[in-house]
Amino acid sequence: MSFIEVKHINKTFKVPVKSNGRFSTLKTFFNRKYNYIKAINDISFSIKKGEIVGYIGPNGAGKSTTIKMLSGILVPDSGNIIIDKMIPWKDRKKYVSKIGVVFGQRSQLWWDIPAIDSFNLLKDIYKLNDKEYEKTLNELIELLNLKDIINIPVRNLSLGNRMKCEIAASLIHRPKILFLDEPTIGLDAVSKKIVREFIKKINKQNKVTVILTTHDMADIEALAKRIILIGKGKLLYDGSLNLLKKKYDYLRKITVISKDKLKIEEDYVIQQKNIENGIEFIIDIRKIEINEFIKLLSSKISISDIDIDNGNIDELIVKLYEDFKI
């Protein structure tokens, strides 16, 4: 059996309907109407130990809800979740000491005091022994370069440094699984890189299984070989990023700077446009390889410069969402 096994989970939320008009607040107070929103609709997947999985989908797709169910905060209406031979919400105390969770938009550090005090308190919460704790702490301080920042009150830290402390806090008890809910939200390029590299490192060194949700596709490209895509509570795709790319990312924009004129009328040219001092092609790489196409071009015109647009992964996702109508 897999390390993480999710089978046919469902979750419906009850949301009160707001109405407008006179005395509406009073009316809703006495007679509330509810909408039932299916946040998670029959999702199943399994994850092996030591994998990094990117869990993606548009806003409101049910990502956070899934993370909450996997971490035992929420109980699914139906279906099973078994992680490391435990049912998250049933063996809560035992289970949560094996996982770490980072909510990118919420802090678990005490705001007014230095992070090191929070770490010390977490040590007592997780009942870690001194030796173990010291070792892990020193490791984290070194890996994340925290030495100078853990003695400053958290409220005075930059977002990037705070996130580093957040991640360290969620790893202080050496969890087997790490859930990251938008860990790079709002971070600058340098901090993003540090966070990504660190996640990679602990995944490799400590065999931590990582599940991350994000809207930043560069996170996914850097970290996850496997992605799970959901939309409107349904599982849409589960597999490797490369395969998804092959399936959806087949258009390339090639811009050539040239004085010559050329018109190619073949099925692999999706679109052709004359620009100021050259030509812009959009080709379908399933029908012709790029080097073939360039060979063809150079045999017909003289090229002074060429630019190949490598297909942005964000566009790929937009295409995907359109395809699945979410």
């Binding site: 939320f13 909450k68 909510f103 919420r106 705001w111 005091i113």
Partner: protein, 258 residues
């Protein structure tokens, strides 16, 4: 328990980050709530007693209720502000820690500013004890300790019950204040001075009567039955279902979006 004190230390450290604000709030709390006691003193300036209770007797019940209330507000404030805990998502965080939930909720917020009221109630308590016409023998002292204990337990159970309400409708409503603040104001007086209906409510529905009325009668030698000494302990019976309801409610918990 050790963990509890570690949490306290963290909260104290946080609060001391803003020393001036802390000092000012502490003093203002002290002055504002002195108003309560002042009303009673004024009242007894006109009337020498209310239905047979003298000023210091009333001040005693008053300070016992204040003691229990402010004790909970100081050390278990997290349960009083439980609706915030749910709305801002902190409760999710607590669920992710391998510790008892209720304990974590209690200690999630600790207000040392409210300790100003606690100290105040203790001062008034001591003043009334000195001035009361009671011979402080062993049984009377035990009764008083039970009363103080029961006061804390009772407010704790009411707070837990009110907090459980949040699980059923995300935002806690004013309903709870009827029982906490409203009840508190009534119970500050020996409930014997009220009409029968009130006495019934405050004996059987919310047992304020067992905190500061029935044991008080024994304390003042108005009743001699020894059962009145342990009557405050009935509040423990009240605590147990509150805790059960809290955990029942937790099962229905549905979090908030992020």
């Amino acid at each position: 328990m050790g963990l509890y004190f570690k949490f306290m230390k963290i909260h104290f450290k946080s609060e001391l980050q803003y020393k001036l604000s802390f000092a000012l709030s502490f003093i203002s709390q002290f002055i504002v709530f002195f108003g309560y006691y002042f009303t009673i003193i004024c009242l007894f300036d006109k009337f020498s007693n209310i239905k047979g209770f003298t000023m210091y007797e009333v001040l005693l019940t008053f300070s016992i209720i204040q003691f229990g209330f402010s004790f909970c507000e100081t050390f278990f404030r997290g349960i009083d502000t439980f609706d915030d805990l749910i709305i801002n998502g902190t409760f999710d965080r607590l669920l992710l820690r391998p510790q008892n939930i209720l304990l974590q909720v209690f200690v999630n917020e600790v207000s040392f500013v409210k300790a100003s009221r606690l100290i105040q109630s203790i001062i008034i308590l001591i003043i009334s004890i000195i001035n009361l016409d009671v011979i402080w023998e062993f049984d009377k002292i035990i009764t008083l300790i039970f009363m103080l204990f029961a006061s804390v337990i009772l407010f704790l159970s009411i707070f837990i019950l009110a907090a459980s309400y949040c699980f059923f409708t995300v935002k806690g409503l004013e309903v709870r204040n009827v029982f906490t603040d409203g009840g508190k104001h009534m119970a500050q007086y020996p409930i014997g001075i009220f009409k029968k209906g009130f006495v019934f409510v405050f004996t059987y529905i919310i047992p304020y009567g067992f905190v500061n009325y029935y044991p008080l009668l024994y304390l003042l030698s108005k009743e001699n039955n020894k059962i009145f000494i342990i009557s405050p302990l009935i509040t423990i019976v009240y605590l147990i279902p509150s805790v059960i309801i809290f955990y029942k409610g937790m099962k229905r918990y549905s979090s908030v979006g992020s």
